[in-house]
C-alpha cells in the first residue's frame, strides 16, 4: 500500500502531481521538497508578463500556501533533496533529514545551459530560469541600456520583445542560419525576424562567440571575426539541460532526461519522473522517446504519475502543445514536426495570421505552427490526436474553414 509519497521538486509538475494525488483521494503522507524558497509558480510569464512588470509573484504563484496546508501537503520549499537511496527507500535532504517513501516522484526540472567562453563569469551576464533571474534582469531594464541576447530561441525572442518596449537597445546573436532554427520552420523564423527588426531589434545569424569582454562588468561580446558588440548586460539563452543527477546517482536509466514509461514510471517501479527532467514515449508518434520542455508536458506527466500510483485509469494523452507571446503575436504549436516531409502554409504572413501544417509523405498531419490563428491550432490538435490525414491543397484553401477541414480529415 502506498502511504508515503515524496515529491522531489516544487515546480509546476510537482504542484500538479500533489494536486492530482489529493484530487484522486490519496490520503497518505505527501511531502514536497523544493530548492527555490518559494511555493510552486508558473515559469512561462518570467519571459513575458512578469518580466515586463505587468504581473507579480502573487499572481503567478500556482496556489497560495493555505492550499497546500489544507491539502495536507508537507512543503519544504528550501530543502532540496541530496540523495535518493533506493535500497532503503529514503530521500535525504540538504539539512540532514531523511524522508521514507513508498513512492518517490522526481520533478527536478532543468537548468540553463551555461556559456563556457572566456569572460562568461563577468558581472552583468544573466540567465533566465527562475524568479530571481527575472528580477535581476528586470531591475537592469533601463531605457538606453544595451542588451545583447545570446541565443535566438523562444526565451531570447520573448525577452527581446519586452526589452525593446522598455527602451533598451537590443541585439540577438544566433549561431544557426536563422532564429528559432531548432524549433520552428523557416517561414516562422522569417516572420519573427521581420517582426523583431520592425520593432528595432538587431538580429545577427551565423554568429560565433569568442569571448565576453570587460573588466569586472561585461562591456561587450566579442565575435570570432573580431567584431565587438557593445553591451551593458548580456542574457545567455542557449537552452536547458535536464536535472537528472540525483536519478543518475541512484542508478536510474537516464540519457537525455530520466527515462520513463507511458505512466511516467522510471526503471525503478517505486519511482516516477515528470516534467523537464524526464523523457517519455509519445503515443501519437509511434512511441518515440522525447524530452518535452513545456507546461503541457509537466501537467500531463504529473497526471499520468498520479493515476498510476492510485490505480486509476490513465488520462487520455494529449498531443504536445506549446505557446509563445511576442508583442501582440501569439504563436501556438501543436505536435512534433520531426519526420515531416512537406509543409503547407495556410493564410498570409503579411496579414499576421497564418499557419504552417507539417505532414509526412502519406499526408498524415504531424504538427501545426499557428500565428494568431487559433482554429488551425485547435483543429490541428484534434486531427493529430486521431492520426488523421489531409489533402495539402485543401489546407491551403482559405475558402474552406478549419472546421470543414477537420471534419473531412
Amino acid at each position: 500500500m502506498v502511504d508515503r509519497i515524496v515529491i522531489i521538486g516544487a515546480g509546476q509538475a510537482a504542484a500538479q502531481a500533489a494536486h492530482s494525488l489529493r484530487a484522486g483521494d490519496y490520503q497518505g503522507r505527501l511531502v514536497m521538497l523544493g530548492n527555490e524558497g518559494l511555493a510552486p509558480y508558473q515559469r512561462p510569464p518570467l519571459s513575458k508578463a512578469y518580466l515586463s512588470g505587468a504581473t507579480g509573484l502573487d499572481r503567478i504563484t500556482l496556489k497560495p500556501q493555505e492550499f497546500w496546508d489544507q491539502e495536507h501537503v508537507e512543503t519544504y520549499f528550501d530543502v532540496p533533496a541530496t540523495e535518493l537511496d533506493r535500497v532503503t527507500q529514503v530521500v535525504k535532504t540538504s539539512d540532514g533529514q531523511a524522508f521514507h517513501y513508498d513512492v518517490a516522484i522526481i520533478a527536478t526540472g532543468s537548468s540553463v545551459r551555461r556559456l563556457s567562453c572566456p569572460g562568461a563569469e563577468l558581472a552583468g551576464v544573466h540567465y533566465l530560469r527562475n524568479i530571481g533571474d527575472a528580477d535581476g534582469l528586470r531591475e537592469n531594464f533601463l531605457p538606453g541600456k544595451k542588451l545583447v541576447i545570446i541565443g535566438g530561441g523562444y526565451i531570447g525572442l520573448e525577452v527581446a520583445a519586452i526589452a525593446i518596449k522598455a527602451g533598451l537597445e537590443v541585439t540577438i546573436l544566433e549561431a544557426a542560419t536563422r532564429m528559432l532554427a531548432r524549433v520552428a520552420p523557416p517561414v516562422i523564423s522569417t516572420f519573427f525576424e521581420d517582426l523583431h527588426r520592425q520593432a528595432g531589434v538587431t538580429m545577427l545569424n551565423n554568429v560565433r562567440i569568442a569571448a565576453l569582454v570587460g573588466d569586472k562588468q561585461v562591456r561587450g561580446v566579442k565575435l570570432e571575426d573580431g567584431q565587438i558588440i557593445a553591451a551593458h548586460l548580456v542574457l545567455v539563452a542557449i537552452g536547458i539541460v535536464p536535472n537528472a543527477q540525483l536519478a543518475q546517482a541512484a542508478g536510474l536509466s537516464a540519457s537525455d532526461g530520466i527515462e520513463t514509461d507511458l505512466d511516467a514510471r522510471t526503471s525503478d517501479p517505486h519511482i516516477y519522473a515528470i516534467g523537464d527532467c524526464a523523457s517519455r514515449p509519445l503515443v501519437h508518434y509511434d512511441h518515440r522517446r522525447s524530452r518535452l520542455e513545456s507546461v503541457h508536458n509537466a501537467l500531463e506527466q504529473a497526471k499520468f504519475a498520479a493515476a498510476s500510483i492510485l490505480g486509476l485509469p490513465r488520462p487520455v494523452e494529449e498531443v504536445p502543445w506549446f505557446w509563445s507571446d511576442q508583442y501582440d503575436i501569439k504563436l501556438q504549436i501543436v505536435g512534433l514536426s520531426m519526420g515531416a516531409t512537406q509543409s503547407v502554409v495556410r493564410g498570409d504572413a503579411a496579414s499576421r495570421q497564418f499557419a504552417v501544417f507539417h505532414l509526412d509523405g502519406a499526408n498524415r498531419l504531424l504538427a501545426v505552427d499557428a500565428i494568431n490563428m487559433p482554429p488551425a491550432f485547435m483543429v490541428g490538435k484534434q486531427i493529430i490526436a486521431r492520426q488523421g490525414h489531409l489533402a495539402p491543397a485543401r489546407l491551403a484553401d482559405m475558402s474552406i474553414s478549419m472546421k470543414e477541414i477537420g471534419a473531412g480529415a
Binding site: 513575458k48 492550499f67 489544507q70 505557446w323 482554429p375
Partner: protein
C-alpha cells in the same frame, strides 16, 4: 472586493470575494474550486477555463476578444453564454456574478 458564485456541474455552489483585477479563473484555481483547469495559466492559449456565465450577467462581462472568441469556438459544448474565465477580470460592476462550470475541460 467583488462576489462571484461558481456552480459546479454537480450543482455544488462556491462563493468567493475577489479583489478587483483578479480573473474568475484565478479565483477558482487558487481557492480549491474544481472544474477549471487553466493549463496555460491565463494566456488565452489552451481553452481549459471555459465557463457559462449566467444569462443576467453575460452582457456585463463585455465583448469577447478575437483570440478568446476563436479559441472558445473549439471548446466542448459552447453556448452563447460561454466565456474563457481567464479573460474576465473582476470589477465592481461584476459584483454578484454567477458562473456555471462544464462537466470537463478536456
Amino acid at each position: 472586493m467583488a462576489k462571484v458564485t461558481y456552480i459546479e456541474h454537480s450543482g455544488k455552489e462556491h462563493v468567493l470575494d475577489l479583489a478587483p483585477g483578479t480573473t474568475i479563473m484565478e479565483g477558482a484555481v487558487k481557492n480549491r474550486i474544481p472544474g477549471i483547469d487553466a493549463d496555460c495559466g491565463g494566456a488565452c492559449a489552451c481553452a481549459t477555463c471555459h465557463v457559462f456565465v449566467d444569462a443576467d450577467w453575460i452582457e456585463k462581462t463585455g465583448k469577447l476578444g478575437s483570440m478568446e472568441e476563436s479559441m472558445l469556438d473549439f471548446a466542448e459544448g459552447i453556448t452563447p453564454l460561454s466565456r474563457l474565465s481567464c479573460q474576465i477580470s473582476m470589477t465592481p460592476e461584476l459584483d454578484g456574478i454567477i458562473v456555471r462550470l462544464p462537466a470537463a475541460q478536456h
